[in-house]
């Protein structure tokens, strides 16, 4: 994955090969979200990287196996965040806050 390296800790009865698939799936999600993800994307948007991870894994287990659904959930959360922020930014712009 270009300059990206991933490290994953698993238990001894876990399937190593499926862990590789999990890592690969996560990279694909990042890739889809950022558009050709590279190191800088993750550095400057680390909180987004966390949010994406939290939609894919929960408590260490895979929660959603459909790429589409994970990305949809992130999109919805991002939308919600912007809706919360937009009124504020307008007010800030005209100097009222």
């Amino acid at each position: 994955y270009a300059s990206l390296y991933f490290c994953c800790a698993i238990e001894d009865q876990d399937n190593e090969l499926i862990t590789l698939e999990i890592i690969h799936r996560y990279v694909e999600l990042l890739d889809k979200y950022f558009g050709s993800v590279c190191e800088l994307d993750i550095i400057f948007n680390f909180e987004k990287a966390y949010f994406i991870l939290d939609e894919f894994l929960l408590g260490g287990e895979v929660q959603e196996t459909s790429k589409k659904n994970v990305l949809k959930a992130i999109e919805q959360a991002d939308l919600l965040q912007e809706e919360a922020e937009t009124p504020r930014s307008v007010l800030e712009e005209i100097g009222l806050t």
Partner: protein, 858 residues
């Protein structure tokens, strides 16, 4: 794109009176722009000061930005604990942005080891019940990441409620949060077990209408308590319809969105797996859903659902692996469940596309499951063959998992794994260290008596080229395998020799002792061994174990070395002087360890009796070392020198060839052997035991039976003294001391050796043996020497023989007295060594005396 939007924001911000706090991106840029560690620290300290001030001022608007910056700094390793309280405030805020960052902060900064973390419990509770799905998601995520046991206990009811919410998005998160809760607080299993089966059934709601409702429970507490009993299960299914309307929680709609349900199924399987791993009751309960799971997996494998869940042609490998894992746990140690799964496992194993990693992952999980349950033999062989195929895969990861799995299986399915031996041996050539190490372990485990020669060749070749950290393991592995499966002694000696020359410095300490023991025991190979060792030593005196063994051998069998002819290898003309020179070289070399020097000195000394020439050279060396700084060497040298000067007449006897040394096993081992021998000797045959007390108990049995008394033996006192007291307490008197019969122990061409035994009554621990050597042949017996050895627990004293010649035709026999002290009444074993000249030939006999009368030591 989301990232770009943030930049737009920064450009439209107006200039304010107070210096605007840095945007997260700007801070990151600044930190990355720092050229040195010190500069970075400076930037960060300055910014942290700003952040702290901002927190103190309580600015709600930019709090999330400040925390985000703090989190970045925290990721770099700087202290960020002062942000903990801010996380709480952000979580409590109503803005989604705040919550998002606040919860992330909680997961990164709050720690269950500090009490502060409990403060978010209330916020989480509120957020879980307020119904905005993304917020509920955040709360559940945080709970399952850092939720401590107390938090889990407090919030379990909320999570339980969410398990039945209509929204699949929240439900799937709630299920996995339940998994975490059970891990933290196992008692919560009882709370989360009832919803499981319902959730499992719900997956099929949209599709298979006719599927039998196997075991159905609801959240209704009354029914929950009667779960598991077959009679009530029918009633439950019947009353389900009635309770449905009375439930407080909304019932899930009949048709859930098909694209989101697989997430719930995956979560449910994970939850059930966790429950079954923790509680045997749950395990028993869920065994009943095995057929249902089999059906789900079968559908998945044959038809799949949608492309969005599949990876390179394999339908939802994550789900498949999870189901297989659950099946493994359910089928373990359970015949019936295992049988139900057999066909399905075979199907998955044969139909999965293995061109990409996803398929191989599923295949691997299938193999693990097959090996762990009670599967049919054919299926197990199939599994091992799959692993064998993995070994040939070009992907290193797959070869790795294959090797680790085969290692686990090699004991239980040995013959199946043997079939892949050639592939395993090829893996020895792997460049990757972890792969070659496992290949080595596996190869060693596969050595058996039929393939030992071929395998040893491969392993020895590997030893020569293997990386240094594997050398020790390889060497000891080869030696161990050679010991167990050596086809011939000569092969064994050759193998050990090769290992010592190749990797001498890496062998274990007892390799030297083992080899000397081995060589000593193989009389026919003495000449061969000493020759080979001499050659090896002449080439290289740096490998200490080799040098030690070679020195010992040369010392012992130096005469054979000089004889010149040996059928096994080319004749070698060795000069006495050369041999002495070599040993002196070893003695003087700076590479030789003190122990090695000791060996060399003793070898030189022994050669003084083996070689023909005068011993001046040897005497010189010995006297030089009398003033050696090494105390051990000095002592040896002084003793040897004294031997030359004052006890020259004894030198030959003392430096004679050593009798075979008993293998140094644990003391208990030897006692067990001794008692086994005693059992063979005595008529009553007590069972072989290790403790003195139980041997005495057996003696009591003997006496009881002998006198026909039906009395039980008294309770055992572990100390020998105590047992002796019981011995005396028996009503039946011990049998009176009878004269012990003589024993003929040796006969050869008219020369005979007899033993006679006396047990003086005043000293019960003492045994006197008189050996008598007679000669009825036509030739004289001259230079007769008899030596004896007894077990360690006995003491032996040899008195001087009456002479060392037995004239022919019944001439005056030689007698010699042995005094043996046996205070512990240990079973007597006696080994004799005779050397003499007869008919112009020198005779040497070593043998153990069998049939020693029991009375000689009881």
């Amino acid at each position: 794109m989301p990232g770009q939007r943030v930049f737009l924001h920064s450009r439209t911000l107006p200039v304010r009176m107070v210096a605007p706090s840095l945007k997260l991106q700007d801070l990151i840029e600044e930190i990355r722009g720092a050229k040195t560690q010190a500069q970075e620290r400076e930037v960060i300290q300055k910014e942290c000061a700003h952040i702290r001030a901002s927190f103190r001022d309580g600015d709600p608007v930019h709090r999330h930005r400040q925390l985000a910056k703090l989190l970045y700094v925290h990721m770099l390793g700087y202290p960020a604990h002062f942000g903990q309280m801010e996380c709480l405030k952000l979580i409590a805020s109503s803005r989604f942005t705040d919550k998002r960052v606040g919860y992330l902060g909680a997961m990164l900064l709050l720690d269950e080891r500090h009490d502060a973390h409990l403060l978010i419990t209330n916020s989480i509770k509120n957020d879980l019940s307020q119904g905005i799905q993304p917020v509920q998601g955040l709360a559940l995520c945080t709970l399952s990441t850092m939720g401590s046991a107390e938090m889990c206990r407090d919030l379990a009811p909320e999570v339980e409620k969410l398990l039945l919410q209509p929204s699949p998005y929240v439900r799937k998160k709630a299920i996995l949060t339940a998994v975490h809760m059970i891990r933290k607080v196992p008692e919560l299993s009882s709370v989360f077990l009832p919803p499981c089966v319902h959730l499992l059934h719900e997956r099929h709601h949209g599709k298979a209408v006719g599927l039998p409702i196997l075991c159905f429970s609801s959240v209704d507490r009354r029914i929950e308590n009667r779960m598991g009993t077959p009679a009530h299960r029918r009633r439950v299914a019947h009353t389900h319809r009635h309770t449905r309307n009375r439930l407080s929680c909304p019932w899930p709609p009949p048709f859930t969105s098909p694209t989101l349900t697989p997430g719930i199924l995956l979560g449910t399987i994970t939850l059930i797996t966790e429950l079954c791993e923790r509680s045997p009751a749950a395990l028993k309960h869920f065994r009943k859903v095995v057929p249902q799971l089999v059906q789900i997996l079968r559908t998945l494998v044959t038809t799949g659902y949608s492309t969005e869940h599949s990876i390179s042609g394999v339908s939802d490998p994550f789900l498949q692996v999870q189901i297989l894992r659950l099946l493994r746990i359910l089928g373990r140690n359970h015949e019936e469940s295992s049988e139900t799964m057999n066909d399905l496992l075979a199907q998955v194993a044969t139909n999965t596309d293995t061109s990409r990693n996803a398929g191989n992952a599923v295949l691997f999980e299938t193999v693990l499951t097959i090996m762990d349950i009670h599967s049919a033999a054919g299926l197990r062989v199939l599994a091992v063959n799959i692993l064998g195929r993995f070994l040939l895969n070009s992907d290193r990861n797959i070869r790795y998992v294959a090797l680790t799995s085969l290692l686990r299986l090699v004991q239980s399915d040995h013959s199946a794994v043997q079939r892949h031996r050639p592939t395993v041996v090829d893996c020895l050539q792997e460049t990757d260290a972890s792969l070659s190490r496992r290949a080595l372990e596996l190869s060693l485990a596969l050595v058996n008596s039929s393939n030992v020669r071929a395998m040893m060749q491969e392993l020895q070749a590997f030893l020569e080229s293997c990386p240094p950290d594997l050398r020790a393991d390889c060497a000891s592995g080869i030696l161990l395998a050679a010991e167990r499966f050596a086809p011939t002694k000569r092969w064994h000696i050759d193998t050990i020799l090769h290992v010592l020359t190749t990797a001498g410095t890496h062998v274990r300490d007892d390799a030297v002792a083992n080899l000397t023991q081995l060589i000593g025991g193989a009389q026919e190979l003495h000449a061969y061994s000493v020759r080979r060792l001499y050659n090896a030593l002449a080439e290289d005196i740096s490998q200490q174990p080799l040098v030690q063994v070679a020195a010992w051998c040369i010392g012992e069998y130096g005469d054979l070395l000089l004889e010149g002819n040996c059928e096994e290898i080319e004749p070698l003309q060795v000069d006495e002087e050369e041999v002495l020179a070599l040993l002196e070289k070893v003695l003087q070399s700076h590479m030789s360890l003190p122990a090695t020097r000791g060996y060399a000195l003793t070898a030189l000394m022994k050669l003084s009796t083996r070689l023909q020439g005068d011993n001046n050279r040897i005497r010189q060396v010995v006297s030089i070392y009398r003033s050696c700084l090494d105390v051990e060497l000095q002592q040896r040298a002084v003793e040897y020198d004294t031997l030359f000067r004052k006890y020259d007449h004894m030198r030959a006897a003392i430096l004679e060839k050593m009798p075979l040394v008993e293998r140094d096993g644990p003391q208990a081992d030897e006692e067990a052997k001794q008692s086994k021998e005693a059992a063979q000797l005595s008529e009553a045959a007590p069972a072989p035991t290790e403790s003195q007390a139980s041997q005495l108990l057996d003696l009591l049995d003997l006496l009881d039976r002998a006198s026909g008394d039906a009395q039980h033996p008294p309770p055992l006192d572990p100390s020998p003294g105590g047992a002796l007291v019981y011995l005396l307490d028996l009503p039946c008197a011990p049998p009176p001391p009878a004269p012990i019969p003589d024993l003929k122990v040796f006969e050869r061409e008219g020369v005979q050796l007899n033993l006679s035994f006396i047990r003086p009554p005043e000293n019960p621990a003492l045994l006197l043996i008189t050996i008598t050597a007679t000669n009825s042949s036509e030739g004289d017996v001259t230079n007769f020497i008899c030596q004896a050895a007894v077990p360690k627990s006995l003491q032996l004293q040899l008195q001087a023989p009456s002479g060392n010649t037995v004239p022919a035709r019944g001439g005056l026999p030689i007698t010699q007295l042995f005094r043996i002290l046996n205070p512990n009444k240990a079973p007597l074993r006696l080994k004799l060594r005779l050397t003499y000249n007869h008919f112009h030939q020198s005779v040497q006999e070593i043998f153990e005396v069998n049939n020693l009368p029991v009375e000689s030591w009881q």
